[in-house]
C-alpha cells in the first residue's frame, strides 16, 4: 500500500542537486519518479527509486540530509478523470492530501501522495478497492 520515498534537503545553490544525483549514479540507483518542493532558500527533493534503503545509506555517506518516509502509491487507469475519482474518495472521507505527484509506469498512472491521516487512508483504500501498489510492485514494474 505504501512505498518508500526519499526526502532530501537541497539548498538553492548551484552544485547541490548534481551532488545528490552523482551519488545515486555512483550507487547505480534508478530514479523512478521525482519532484522538488521548492522555497526561496531550499528545496525538498522527493524521489521514488530502486533500493530506497540502500540509496538512503549511500546518500548519508555523501553527507546529504536525507530521510525515508512512507507514502501511498495508487495505480490508476491512464484515462481522463481517473485522478479526480481517486482523490475524491479521500476528499469525501475528510482526508487531506499533503502533497501529490504522479508518473506513468507500464501504461498505468501512479499517484504518489501523503495524507494527514494515514490510518483512515488505509481504510479508504481497502473499502473502495483502490489499486494500491507496494515496493515489490514498483521494482517489478520497473
Amino acid at each position: 500500500m505504501t512505498v518508500h520515498q526519499l526526502s532530501i534537503f537541497i539548498e538553492n545553490r548551484s552544485g547541490t542537486l548534481i551532488k545528490v544525483l552523482e551519488a545515486l549514479k555512483a550507487a547505480n540507483i534508478q530514479i523512478i519518479a521525482s519532484t522538488i518542493a521548492d522555497t526561496a532558500e531550499y528545496g525538498i527533493y522527493r524521489l521514488i527509486c530502486s533500493e530506497p534503503m540502500r540509496a538512503c545509506e549511500e546518500l548519508k555517506k555523501a553527507n546529504v540530509a536525507v530521510a525515508l518516509s512512507d507514502v501511498f502509491a495508487l495505480a490508476i487507469d491512464d484515462k481522463p478523470g481517473r485522478a479526480a475519482d481517486a482523490v475524491k474518495t479521500f476528499s469525501e472521507a475528510g482526508i487531506s492530501i499533503a502533497y501529490m505527484y504522479s508518473f506513468l509506469l507500464r501504461g498505468k498512472g501512479i499517484l504518489i501522495f501523503r495524507t494527514d491521516d494515514n490510518e483512515k487512508a488505509v481504510k479508504v483504500i481497502a473499502d473502495n478497492q483502490l489499486q494500491s501498489i507496494n515496493e515489490a510492485d514498483l521494482s517489478e514494474l520497473a
Binding site: 526526502s7 540530509a65 530521510a67
Partner: protein, 435 residues
C-alpha cells in the same frame, strides 16, 4: 551653548584635582560595598588610601565583560537594592545579559550628561525632540528621554518601528530634534521618499545619532536628506548609557563627561596605558556612580583621545570615532550581538550541528542578521518531507535567538557539513555591511 560651564570648561588642573578626589572616594566605596573589588584590591595589596590622585588610577585592576557575567545578576552592585530605582540590561557574551542598576542619583547624573549633550547640539527648551531609540531594557530610549525632559524640551517617545506614523508626527508636530541610530535615520529618509515627504515639509534641525558605528559619508547623507545637523553620541550601559560622550557644534570628536567618566586608552594586549593620540582600547572608570560603579572597565572599543581645549570652549577630552573592536562583538541595529550568544543557543538544540555562521548585511539602510546552521543527519527524519517541517524547525531556532539576542534573526538551514569549520572567532561572522 554650554549646559554646565563650571564642569564642561573647568581648567585641566582643576578637573584633575576633582577627578582624583572622586577616584579616591569611589575606590573606598567599592572596597567597602563590592566583595569582588575588595578581593581584587586586597590581592593586589592596594588600600583605598593608596589612591589619592587621578594618576594613581593605573594601580587599579581592570574590569571586563566577563567579570560582569561571572557576577550575574547583581554581584557588582554597590548600592543596596532599596536604593536602586531602575535596572537596564545589555547583551552578555552568552545567555545571561549584563544587568546594571541605577540609583536616583545615577539617573540624575545621566540626565545631566544627556542635557549637556543636547545643549552642545544646540537643542533648547523650545525644541520638540523625538526619541526613536528602543525603549526598554536598552539604555538608548529612556536615557535620551530623561535627558530631553531634564533640559526642558518636549519629548516625543516615538520608540522604534511604526516609521510612517513617526514621519507623520515629525511633519505635523513640527518636530525639530531626533535621536536614533544613524541607519534608522537613513531608513526614515528612504520612507520619506516613498511617502513623498520632502525635507522642506519637515522642521528637523538636530539629530543625535549613535549606538552603532557610522562614517562621515553617512553623516553627509543623513544631513542632506533630512535637512538637519547630525551629531555623534556615545555611551554604554556598563558605564551609564548614551551621553558618556557627545559631539559639539565643531563635529570634531566627542567630548567625554570627564568629571563622571574617566577615560584611558590602553594597549589591549599588554594592557599598558597609551599616550594621547594613539589608538587603543577605551577604558572607563565611573567616578560618581552609586548603583554599579566600575573601575577601569574595558569597553573593547578602539579609538584615540584628543586632549586640549576645543573651539567650542569645552576643555573635556574628546574621543575620536570608534575604529573597531578588540573583541568579536557586532552592533546590529544598535544592539550588541556576540557570536557566542548565537553559539549558546545553537548548542542548546540537538537538531543542529555545533557549527554556525552569522551573516550581517545592510538592506535599504537596515541591518539584517542571518544565522546559518546545519541540521544533523540523525535529526533529518521522515517528517521533513515538506518545507513546512523545515520552516517550523527554523522558526523554533529563530524564536530562541530573538529572546537571547533581542533582535530578530533569519535562520537559514544548511545541509550537514556545509558550513566551514571555524578557524577562529571571526570565522563565525560574515559582515557584508559597507561602512
Amino acid at each position: 551653548m554650554i549646559w554646565n560651564p563650571n564642569k564642561e570648561c573647568m581648567s585641566r588642573d582643576e578637573r584633575s584635582a576633582l577627578q582624583g578626589k572622586r577616584l579616591h572616594k569611589i575606590v573606598e566605596y567599592v572596597y567597602h560595598n563590592v566583595p569582588f573589588y575588595r578581593n581584587k584590591l586586597q590581592e593586589m595589596d592596594i588600600r583605598p588610601d593608596d589612591i589619592q590622585t587621578i594618576e594613581d588610577i593605573t594601580k587599579l585592576p581592570f574590569t571586563t565583560k566577563k567579570d560582569l557575567r561571572d557576577n550575574y545578576p547583581f554581584g557588582l552592585q554597590a548600592a543596596p537594592q532599596s536604593e536602586i530605582i531602575r535596572v537596564h540590561a545589555s547583551s552578555g557574551t552568552t545567555g545571561n545579559p549584563t544587568i546594571v542598576g541605577y540609583t536616583r542619583k545615577d539617573i540624575g547624573v545621566w540626565s545631566e550628561c544627556m542635557a549637556r549633550c543636547l545643549t552642545a547640539y544646540g537643542v533648547t527648551r523650545d525644541d520638540i525632540f523625538s526619541v526613536a531609540y528602543g525603549y526598554g531594557l536598552f539604555t538608548g530610549g529612556l536615557g535620551a528621554h530623561y535627558g530631553v525632559e531634564h533640559l526642558g524640551a518636549s519629548v516625543i517617545p516615538a520608540g522604534t518601528g511604526n516609521t510612517e506614523k513617526h514621519l507623520k508626527l515629525i511633519r505635523d508636530l513640527g518636530i525639530t530634534g531626533l535621536a536614533c541610530t544613524p541607519s534608522y535615520a537613513l531608513y526614515l529618509a528612504e520612507t520619506m521618499d516613498k511617502l513623498g515627504i520632502r525635507k522642506e515639509d519637515i522642521k528637523l534641525r538636530v539629530g543625535a545619532f549613535g549606538a552603532e558605528p557610522w562614517t562621515e559619508n553617512m553623516r553627509k547623507e543623513i544631513e542632506e536628506r533630512l535637512g538637519l545637523k547630525g551629531y555623534n553620541i556615545y555611551g554604554l550601559s556598563e558605564v551609564m548609557g548614551p551621553s558618556v560622550s557627545y559631539e559639539c557644534q565643531m563635529q570634531h570628536g566627542s567630548h567625554i563627561c570627564e568629571d563622571h567618566f574617566y577615560p584611558e586608552i590602553i594597549n589591549p594586549t599588554t594592557l599598558e596605558p597609551l599616550p594621547a593620540g594613539q589608538t587603543g582600547e577605551l577604558v572607563f572608570t565611573t567616578l560618581t556612580k552609586e548603583g554599579m560603579p566600575v573601575l577601569r572597565y574595558r569597553t573593547r572599543d578602539l579609538c584615540s583621545l584628543m586632549p586640549g581645549t576645543c573651539d567650542c570652549g569645552r576643555t573635556e577630552v574628546r574621543m575620536g570615532r570608534i575604529e573597531g573592536r578588540s573583541d568579536d562583538m557586532l552592533i546590529i541595529r544598535g544592539i550588541n550581538v556576540f557570536p557566542s550568544q548565537v553559539e549558546s543557543v545553537v548548542l542548546s538544540m540537538p537538531e543542529f550541528a555545533p557549527r554556525y555562521m552569522l551573516v550581517v548585511d545592510r538592506v535599504n539602510n537596515l541591518d539584517t542578521l542571518q544565522v546559518q546552521v546545519e541540521i544533523r543527519q540523525e535529526y533529518f527524519t521522515g517528517v521533513f518531507d515538506t518545507p513546512a517541517a523545515v520552516d517550523q524547525l527554523e522558526k523554533k531556532l529563530a524564536t530562541k535567538l530573538k529572546s537571547v539576542l533581542s533582535i530578530a534573526a533569519k535562520v537559514q538551514l544548511k545541509a550537514p557539513n556545509t558550513i566551514e569549520r571555524s578557524q577562529g572567532k571571526s570565522a563565525h561572522v560574515i559582515d557584508r555591511r559597507k561602512l
